[in-house]
Symmetry: C2
Subunit: 418 residues, 2 copies
């Protein structure tokens, strides 16, 4: 079978399976999730043996220690996958619920019914745990899923897919509801991205290069974020200690993630007072500073920032600082350099807090708290499959509900249109 036919076959069997998973009761979906969790633990040795092939090949091909670390399925990683599935099994099932119901003037009763999206394609880089996490969330929402992991993790992903399929079948569900693209051939991704009749949504997870490639190639809707260039604006009415604590937390608590702070904006009226305080706290946390001219005049250890610094997603213990004239100046900087991800203000001014929330365009706009709260768990979504900075369908963290949609349903007594 040609590669193209192979991918088409996977997409069509996923579509067929999605008709079955869409109509499953929550109880049956939860049984399947718990069965897969049990099987993961039972098959630890097989999974880790397959994973070792990837890790060895990765070492030989010179993957960085960080990449090897992300690729390795330790006992702890495997237990985490199983626990994740059991957690998802315990979450509420949104499928089938009705909203926006009304009786129309002609007596037609209508509502919107929440339904699975259908078939979801996940394209991701090397972490094999995505295989299990994404499969669990998609299944809980009643979808079929096609997974395409990085070529470095191909043995691990095939092994995990085999376990998932076995769990599905043991629970009486179609095994083809979760499929892994079984080849490392990159052309497989491009073919997958054209199956718009049989795949309803693509979620890419990985670096900006991967995501731009997916968006450029796909005729299927894509939910994505390219990067997180997050700002915090310290207003002249801010509590300085609160602002410094938030800056340190947002930058340094976990610098390698998309909701970490990249640029601090400071009202010029308080720069001379606030920056030395914040600068010390940031330095104590190991953060290196890049500042605008005014910032560098106040903080001796800040290096001058260039244009690239305002655009940078450092994902590292580096922070850009800019002194701004006022909140409007801060909002203009955010509009120019922000990535619609997370934007924070620290203020005690009522009217500015309202305007910032209303006017700043980002998936989370937050007052007097850390940017790190842009996270499905922190915002109460239960579990998250990623964060979207596209505005269509979902803007911000995506949980189970964002893996569903609604259709209109109506009940009549013979109504016809006049």
């Amino acid at each position: 079978m040609s590669l193209e036919n192979q991918i088409i076959q996977i997409a069509k069997s996923a579509r067929a399976a999605s008709r079955i998973t869409a109509a499953l009761s929550s109880a049956r979906k939860n049984t399947a999730l718990n069965t897969i969790a049990d099987l993961l633990i039972k098959n630890r040795e097989t999974i880790q043996a397959e994973n070792k092939k990837d890790v060895d090949a990765g070492r030989e091909s010179g993957l960085s220690p960080a990449m090897i670390d992300r690729l390795t399925i330790t006992d702890k990683v495997l237990s985490g996958m199983a626990e994740g599935l059991r957690f998802v099994a315990g979450l509420d099932d949104p499928v089938g619920s009705l909203t926006d119901s009304a009786i129309r003037p002609n007596g037609l009763e209508m509502a919107k019914m929440r339904i699975p999206l259908g078939v979801i394609g996940i394209i991701y880089e090397s972490r094999p745990n995505v295989t299990v996490d994404a499969a669990g969330l998609c299944l809980k929402a009643g979808n079929a899923v096609i997974l395409r992991g990085g070529s470095e993790a191909i043995h691990s992903n095939r092994a995990l897919a085999g376990i998932i399929e076995q769990g599905m079948v043991e629970a009486g569900l179609p095994g083809s509801a979760v499929q892994v693209i079984p080849t490392a051939d990159r052309e497989a991704v491009n073919i997958m991205l054209k199956q718009e009749e049989d795949i309803d949504l693509i979620i890419p997870r990985g670096g900006e290069g991967l995501i731009r490639h997916v968006v450029a190639q796909s005729s299927i809707p894509v939910l994505k974020h390219y990067k997180g260039v997050c700002h915090a604006y310290v207003d002249d009415t801010a509590d300085f200690k609160m602002a410094a604590d938030i800056a340190v937390n947002a930058k340094a608590q976990r610098p390698g993630v998309c909701n970490a702070l990249e640029t601090l904006l400071v009202h010029e009226a308080v720069a001379a007072q606030f920056l030395p305080l914040a600068g010390k706290a940031l330095a104590d946390a190991g953060v290196t500073l890049r500042g605008c001219e005014k910032t560098c005049a106040i903080l001796n250890d800040a290096r001058p920032a260039s244009q690239e610094d305002w655009e940078a997603e450092y994902l590292d213990l580096i922070l850009a600082i800019k002194v701004v004239k006022d909140m409007d100046d801060a909002m203009a900087h955010i509009a120019a350099y922000g990535s619609n991800h997370t934007e924070a203000i620290i203020t005690n001014d009522y009217e500015r807090s309202r305007r910032f929330i209303r006017e700043v365009d980002a998936s989370l706009v937050i007052v007097n708290a850390s940017t790190r709260f842009n996270d499905g768990g922190e915002l109460g979504l239960g579990a998250e499959i990623g964060i979207s900075t596209s505005k269509l369908h979902a803007y911000g963290p995506m949980g189970i509900k964002e893996l569903t949609t609604t259709k209109f349903v109506a009940w009549g007594q013979g109504q016809i249109r006049e």
Copy 2:
């Protein structure tokens, strides 16, 4: 300026305008809509003079009478545009409303706030009234809009755009919030579809060819429907008169629209009784029939249907009829040939009505009523910009609310992540 730079300039100025329209009060948006309505009526002669250029050119180039009809801005069409704007001004404004609010365990108060999408691109074929209707809906939802009409309507669209811009400016709003691509060059569309940084959504309205082109070219999310191959399944428990009335209404009341019936599916146990009754009613309404073998054995005036008939969107007084074994057989036919648009069942069986609603995948699934109710007005959306058969973001008729999205907002008291 090159065409590419011209389009980029339009997209960037729309993005800038969208920041202003996003923060407008409902009162100011409504004033603008009513001002534009007044100006349309006041400038009737100018608009119709420009429209005449398009109509004359269309006649010369041999456009069909139906196309000329859709292109012509009669007094009635112009009044309809103005009334449409006033109607939209009277609708509720969804922007700024909060939902899903909660206080997190750490005291963080969060919610989802409804916001405009930003910049919407509409790509459509010859009807110039779309220029005004689409602009009005997008503006009411707080968006900026870029309009690209058919080349046959270029003079009309430029004239209408001029009036809209004048109305915006008179109402104190940025004129660049509504822009028409001022060239008939088809390359302009392809360039527009790559401006993903500055355009948030593309809505194509027109034939399947246009829509497939847009989907293939666009790196911006697209809301669309290709076609409406709608079915009605007549169960063996159906009220025959109700079923025949619905079939006639769904097929013949307005055959040229996407929610018209294309295929009637009939339970084999009642085919011999029901089909003569329905066949006569359909023939009386001028409908020509194409039937499966069993149908043709019952109805002498039905011509044998071929494979193409099951796939056809006739948009005409032609109906395909197929006798099916039972509801499962009907649902399998719908899954194979349906277009996720509108699917109806006529039944008196409780369990089947539930299963059909739950299991059939279409933007409207309806029991005991005409497929023609898949319409924004009929379902209570107020006004509609189109119907989506994509499942992302909106599935079914799209009103003002579907031209918005939600962002997360949160209010803290200094919270940081542990």
